[in-house]
């Protein structure tokens, strides 16, 4: 078998990496966030140059100084965030990607080649559809199509399933199968063990910028890979609370939320969260989780439905009111929303609490109290910062999260709404976050955890609620749950579950 090989020792973020990808192979690149996968791929795509070592394509050395070089060399990239102009049609987006399209009426020249490729790889594509109206899976196929049209022999997919339901992911894998048959090479970047085992031929694990191992998928096991990824035994176990759940603290009935355009984002959602339990909200991004979190924390008003917090009706209450009632929010976008980057750490530590005593005396702020609080928080949560007056945007992601956690969890909340709290955090920060959430649960607070990471949800939650297109498709006890059950629910399949599942 002739190899389309890439072999290169690398750069500081990548330490002497050797990687070989063969023709007709799906090669997975596995690693935690920050392990160096992206840098490696950037070098392959011409976005960065290796400091040492070289890239060989089909046995010959390749100099990739820009994406254009990479494309000419037959390398295509489908990034995590799609490079598509949403208001343009599919045809326009594809025409943009192909410099050979004619100057006049560039989209017409595409019809034949697109039809041919679509048939070969088994997908359907409507050239005249506006990209913004397509589902993430369909948008991704447009990106793949663009790469294929440019003559890609090697396709790099960066975390492709992060926006797909399990069923759409299967469709993607079918396409990858065809690519394999056609002799194309595929590099699949992921941190999802199970998927990688399902589709890849060989797996290379990166950790801390180095290649830790390369295994054949057939013989590897999830546990082994996880250990390689993290460097130590990963406890994938759970630590449920000693006491069972207490009284219902949050009760949501028939919650309906519409977008600005009138589409239903949440469709009659019913949900209960008890004190002393963690309820996980699962689902592919975009199915209503964000809206749910926004309504519960006062950032959005629902069109219909009731929300009872400790028995009181809080539908329509604003952020301030909810916060005063003990609802705290760990937001998804911590840098743009959770803190004010340009303000000091001490200021951010009182960001939402500034209206309450002791920080506020009448209309004025008591800065001494603010400083004192900051000193305490920095100490208790071990926030690594040069001083309490440092501008917050200088802190690392993990420390910013600590600031948010210190602030939100410091006031004995009743309901904790956490949205993707460990996204982009390293292992230590993730473990701390998990611990703090568990502590809140043990304290008796109700915790609602929204996450795309099914492993995290399975580890932390007592129950998992699955959202699909704004409705609850099912609720399962985390203890006995199977991933494929949840996967089906995430895709909207409500077939009756094993005895453990029930409606909330």
């Amino acid at each position: 078998m002739r190899s389309v090989s890439k072999r290169f020792p690398g750069v500081l973020a990548n330490d002497a990496i050797d990687l070989t990808v063969r023709r007709g192979e799906v090669h997975a690149l596995l690693g935690e966030n920050g392990a160096g996968k992206t840098t490696l791929v950037h070098m392959l795509y011409g976005l960065q140059a290796p400091d040492e070592g070289a890239i060989y394509l089909r046995g010959r050395r390749a100099r990739l100084r820009s994406p254009r070089d990479a494309k000419v060399a037959g390398i295509g990239l489908v990034a995590q965030h799609f490079h598509l102009a949403r208001r343009h049609t599919v045809a326009e987006n594809l025409a943009l990607a192909l410099p050979e399209t004619p100057a006049l009426f560039p989209t017409r020249a595409l019809r034949a080649p697109v039809a041919e490729l679509a048939q070969r790889y088994g997908f359907e594509v409507d050239l005249r559809a506006r990209v913004g109206a397509l589902s993430p899976g369909e948008q991704q196929r447009v990106e793949i199509l663009a790469a294929l049209l440019q003559g890609a022999e090697l396709l790099i997919l960066d975390e492709p399933t992060s926006v797909l339901t399990p069923q759409e992911a299967d469709r993607l894998f079918a396409v990858l199968q065809r690519m394999r048959q056609e002799g194309k090479g595929v590099i699949l970047i992921s941190h999802k063990l199970d998927e990688v085992l399902a589709i890849a031929d060989r797996i290379t694990v990166l950790r801390g910028g180095k290649v830790v191992a390369t295994r054949d998928a057939a013989t590897a096991s999830a546990g082994e890979l996880a250990t390689l990824m993290v460097g130590r035994e990963v406890t994938r176990g759970r630590s449920p609370s000693a006491a069972g759940p207490g009284a219902v603290r949050l009760s949501v009935r028939n919650l309906t939320v519409h977008s600005e355009r009138g589409e239903a984002r949440l469709n009659g959602v019913d949900l209960d969260v008890h004190g002393g339990e963690i309820v996980g909200v699962a689902g592919v991004a975009g199915n209503g989780q964000a809206e749910l979190a926004e309504v519960l924390t006062g950032l959005r008003v629902a069109e219909a439905g009731t929300v009872l917090l400790d028995g009181a009706d809080v539908a329509g209450a604003g952020v301030r009111d909810l916060f005063a009632r003990g609802v705290v929010h760990i937001p998804e976008d911590r840098n743009a929303m959770g803190v004010v980057g340009g303000m000091k750490v001490s200021e951010n530590l009182v960001l939402r609490r500034h209206r309450q005593a002791p920080f506020s005396k009448g209309r004025l702020l008591d800065w001494r109290e603010v400083s004192r609080n900051a000193d305490g928080a920095i100490r208790d949560y071990q926030i690594s910062t040069p001083s309490r007056d440092t501008v917050t945007r200088q802190l690392s992601g993990g420390n910013v999260q600590k600031v948010i956690l210190a602030r939100e969890l410091g006031g004995a909340p009743g309901l904790v709404v956490a949205s993707h709290p460990t996204y982009g955090l390293d292992v230590a920060a993730t473990e701390l976050t998990h611990k703090l959430l568990r502590d809140q649960r043990d304290r008796g607070a109700a915790v609602l955890l929204v996450s795309e990471d099914l492993d995290e949800l399975l580890q932390l939650s007592d129950r998992i609620v699955v959202l699909f297109r704004g409705s609850v498709t099912g609720t399962v006890d985390a203890a006995g749950a199977q991933r494929d059950e949840i996967g089906l629910l995430m895709a909207g399949d409500r077939t009756p579950l094993a005895p453990a599942g029930s409606q909330a």
Binding site: A13, G208, G318, M337, V340, G341, H354, R363, L364, V391
Partner: protein
């Protein structure tokens, strides 16, 4: 990106650096102005010498500089607030004029007893200016209508409104050629220092306003929320700051402050309603530069207003002594602005060595923030 280094955004630009930036911008702008003058037939050094002689070394000249600065201070302080709400209030010019209109109305027609006149004029001016800003504020906050255009259009509306008044219903009885309203009664005249035209009550008001705003921003809850909004609207929303209400309040105060500046002009300088070209003289636009140069700091705005007041007074001197159209001060002003924004991005970034243990979370060049704020 060069391997081993990365561009990192500076956490904060220290106040010293900020001042150096503004000062540097001023110096460069002045030098370039000199170059342009030379290129188009005005000897720069001689001109500069004349300016210094007449505006700084001369007591009367200095008083002119200060009195020119007064409306700039008021409007400029107001704009520091509006800009923090990300509301580009280009309409200070019109708000100033409307304030003048309101004050003139009170002076000429209200029939109030003497001692009440001036306070009433200031109140009316503030209210009128604020009302002039209300429309664009509501349109932006509720409908997202671009406030640059709406406030700007209202400037023109205000100009024509004033012109209509002084040529029509409020036309004064006397005077050849030019149109003015009648002269105000003496009780409606602001006192000035000595024989100068420096109407000190407005000056006091301006300084008081700056101090008040500075105190507001640092010591009060509201000020904290304003600062939040100015830095990160998303975080402010998350923190429960009512951005509608806050923006509205800030715009109203900003527009009202410009209105006060207008009152100062009619009551302190002209003592009647005059043509907009003489009344507002581009103060509203210059105030934008005051606020930007001061980096939205109200106390700094007092200083930058003084500088721009000097530029404006220089324009007068150039007109009289050198027979140049006074609008050429726009050259310096434009250059100052360009210099500020031109240098800023270079100060926001620096080269940093990437430490050996790479991969600690997200890195890379952050999105470029809006420059001058």
């Amino acid at each position: 990106m060069i391997a081993g280094f990365r561009l990192e955004q500076r956490g904060s630009i220290g106040p010293l650096r900020t001042w150096a930036l503004s000062l540097g911008a001023i110096v460069v702008a002045m030098v370039l102005t000199g170059v342009l003058f030379a290129a188009f037939g005005v000897a720069p050094l001689a001109a500069f010498a004349t300016l210094v002689d007449r505006t700084i070394l001369d007591a009367r000249g200095l008083s002119e500089v200060v009195r020119r600065a007064i409306p700039l201070m008021l409007a400029g302080v107001g704009l520091t607030l509006a800009f923090r709400a990300r509301f580009w209030n280009i309409g200070a010019e019109g708000q100033l004029l409307i304030g003048g209109v309101a004050a003139s109305g009170v002076a000429l027609f209200s029939g109030l007893p003497g001692p009440l006149l001036l306070p009433a004029m200031f109140l009316a001016g503030f209210a009128a200016g604020a009302a002039w800003g209300l429309g664009p504020a509501l349109l932006k906050v509720r409908l997202g209508v671009n406030e640059i255009i709406t406030t700007l259009m209202l400037n023109y509306v205000a100009i024509y409104l004033v012109r209509w008044l002084i040529n029509g219903p409020w036309k004064g009885r006397s005077l050849s050629g030019f149109a003015y309203s009648d002269v105000f009664e003496p009780a409606a005249w602001l006192p000035t220092i000595g024989t100068t035209r420096l109407h000190w009550p407005t000056l006091t008001l301006a300084i008081a306003a700056a101090v008040f705003v500075a105190w507001l921003l640092t010591k009060t809850r509201f000020g904290f929320e304003v600062r939040m909004m100015g830095e990160s609207p998303d975080a402010a929303r998350y923190a429960g700051v009512d951005s509608f209400r806050t923006t509205l309040v800030l715009v109203l105060v900003s527009a009202g402050a410009a209105g006060l500046a207008g009152v100062g002009e009619v009551a302190g300088i002209h003592h009647r309603l005059v043509d907009p070209a003489s009344l507002s003289v581009g103060y509203g636009y210059t105030a934008i530069i005051v606020a930007l140069l001061a980096r939205r700091d109200p106390l700094a705005a007092l200083v930058t207003a003084a500088f721009l007041g000097w530029v404006a007074a220089s324009g007068d001197v150039m007109q009289v002594a050198l027979r140049l159209p006074s609008q050429i001060t726009g050259v310096t002003q434009g250059l100052v602005l360009l210099c500020i924004i031109g240098v800023e991005p270079f100060l926001r970034y620096r080269l940093v060595r990437v430490p050996r243990n790479a991969g600690n979370g997200p890195d890379g060049v952050r999105p470029v923030p809006k420059g001058v704020q």
